[in-house]
Amino acid sequence: MAKRIDVSGLNAYYGSFLAIEDISMTVEPRSVTAFIGPSGCGKSTFLRTLNRMHEVTPGGRVEGKVMLDDENLYGAGIDPVSVRREVGMVFQRPNPFPTMSVYDNVAAGLRLNGKYKKSELDDIVEKSLRGANLWNEVKDRLNKPGSGLSGGQQQRLCIARAIAVEPNVLLMDEPCSALDPISTLAIEDLIGELKERFTIVIVTHNMQQAARVSDRTAFFNLAAVGQPGKLIEIDDTERIFSNPSVQATEDYISGRFG
């Protein structure tokens, strides 16, 4: 299921603006990798290059290689739509489809991609909701609108929706920044469970969160506003938070930054 991501020499542009420059890293399967760094350093942009969502933004384009196991996502003839089925994504703000019920939201990825039998869908929806630790809370209101849930529940619904299509990799762009501490805890626990099945990459502004959930941590930084963001270092989370090899990383995580 889970696949390794191998990025080499990746540049991403918005129009003529170089947003991130020359990033190379390896993301191990069945692990959680956290991206930390100041705002505007290109964490989210980089995350979005990993499932070709970057090019959805007008003017967005990418140079370099992203290998998913042995296939280059930016190789010739690769269909971005198929890439996104392999590499799922959860966004910063919970965004369930407002016209759909809880059930339809979870089934959306499958239904919009092809025909499924009702019984098959029922199973997948239940499995995904259980996987997202949401089943017990919503099993009696599967046909109610998804936007009627609380913020934390909505975000778990979005995770359920993402894992329902059985991706190999799950990208999370600050999934807890709009949530209260209790919902955050629920999602962090969930990440711990999900990493047994998926490769998980999470962007976070909360360094304690990075320390709690991730196995490896990557620190991004930019020299100045208007300069491209760069990967400063990537290492085991423990090492990054105790004894990083670059001074800038230590400054950032100890709060002496800028």
């Binding site: 966004f91 965004n95 990825g109 919009l112 991609n113």
Partner: protein, 353 residues
């Protein structure tokens, strides 16, 4: 310290205020004064005394309030009274139009009127009806809608979801230009192409084509606005699930905005239903029932109203029929608007728990 607030002096937070009925009293006073002045000056038009009353109301409430409450409150009251005057200026003509139309229209408006044509009824005779005109209007407007909605909605989807660069700018520009086309020009355009160059006769369909020229830009504009309201996050959520763009538009973007799009379409229909100029040029008119919109002249409500009034000389059976047809037309558009609101509410994304 705390004793200071207990002093008998008036609190600095509480000033003199006029009672709630003050505004009503000034309004009543200025209406009475307006009536008095116009009676004294021998003015007869009700518009004149109403305008005098409105000016007196605004000035009077400012003067009294400035004296009692202070200048700031007085300005506040002036703004409020101006809003009320503007509201009345806008509503009075509308209400009076509705009142007159209903009063004069109900005389001959009944089941017989709605289900019979003017077939063998002379203009001066009572009887007859508007069945042929209703039929014509429904068919012409229906055909125009069938032409305009797909073209308009697809254009809007192109502009919002795909359009980049010069082509999109050009399309936007031409939609803007089309919005400003006078209906008679749209009629003349179809007349020159359809009737003069292709040598076709007058028909409901020819009218529909001219009406759709008027309707398409309205549909494009309203649909565009509605599609822009759909949050980008929903598109991204769908794309990130590996859903192709066209399915995202079809299954996520359109359902989210369908209520607003329907409202826009209904309003566009309401806009073209009352058009007379293109119909006059292209559909002509007939006193007989013609159910085929593709051949021969057809009747329509606006033309019917115009002709009945023209032939009546201002009184008699034809005059009453013109008013009844006008009432029918207003009712038709009103029903469309209500249906649109109903659909918008029914289809709006639900947030209920």
């Amino acid at each position: 310290m705390s004793h200071a607030t207990l002093s008998p002096r008036r609190s600095s937070l509480r000033g003199a205020t006029l009672p709630k009925w003050f505004a009503w009293a000034v309004a009543a006073g200025s209406v009475a004064a307006g009536l008095g002045i116009s009676a004294a000056a021998g003015l007869e038009s009700s518009i004149q005394w109403a305008l005098i009353a409105a000016v007196l109301f605004v000035l009077g409430s400012y003067a009294v309030s400035a004296k009692v409450e202070g200048r700031r409150q007085a300005k506040d009251r002036t703004a409020t009274s101006l809003v009320w005057v503007a509201f009345l200026l806008a509503v009075v003509p509308l209400a009076s139009l509705m009142w007159e139309t209903v009063k004069r229209g109900v005389k001959v408006l009944d089941g017989y009127f709605l289900t019979h044509s003017m077939g063998v009824v002379a203009d001066t005779e009572p009887g007859g009806g508007i069945y042929h005109a209703i039929l014509g209007t429904l068919e012409q407007v229906g055909l125009a809608t069938v032409i305009s909605v797909p073209v308009g909605v697809l254009t809007a989807i192109y502009l919002v979801e795909y359009g980049r660069g010069r082509l999109a700018k050009a399309v936007t520009f031409f939609v803007d230009v089309m919005t400003g086309i006078p209906s008679i020009v749209a009629g003349l355009f179809i007349l020159s192409v359809w009737v003069l160059m292709l040598d076709m006769g007058p028909s409901g369909f020819a009218g529909s084509m001219a009406l759709s020229i008027l309707m398409i830009p309205v549909v494009v504009r309203s649909t565009e606005e509605m599609l822009k309201l759909v949050p980008n996050e929903l598109r991204e959520a769908s794309l990130a699930l590996g859903v192709p763009k066209w399915r995202t538009i079809l299954k996520v973007v359109l359902p989210t905005s369908i209520g607003g799009i329907t409202t826009g379409v209904m309003l566009a229909i309401a806009r073209i239903t009352g058009e007379t100029a293109p119909v006059l040029l292209l559909v002509w008119v007939t006193n007989f029932i013609n159910a085929n919109p593709f051949q021969d002249p057809q009747a329509s409500l606006p033309m019917y109203i115009y002709l009945q009034y023209q032939n009546s000389g201002g009184y008699g059976a034809a005059y009453d029929r013109a008013w009844a047809a006008a009432l029918t037309l207003i009712a038709f558009i009103m029903i469309l608007n209500m249906v649109a609101r109903g659909i918008a509410r029914w289809k709006a994304p639900k947030t209920g728990r």
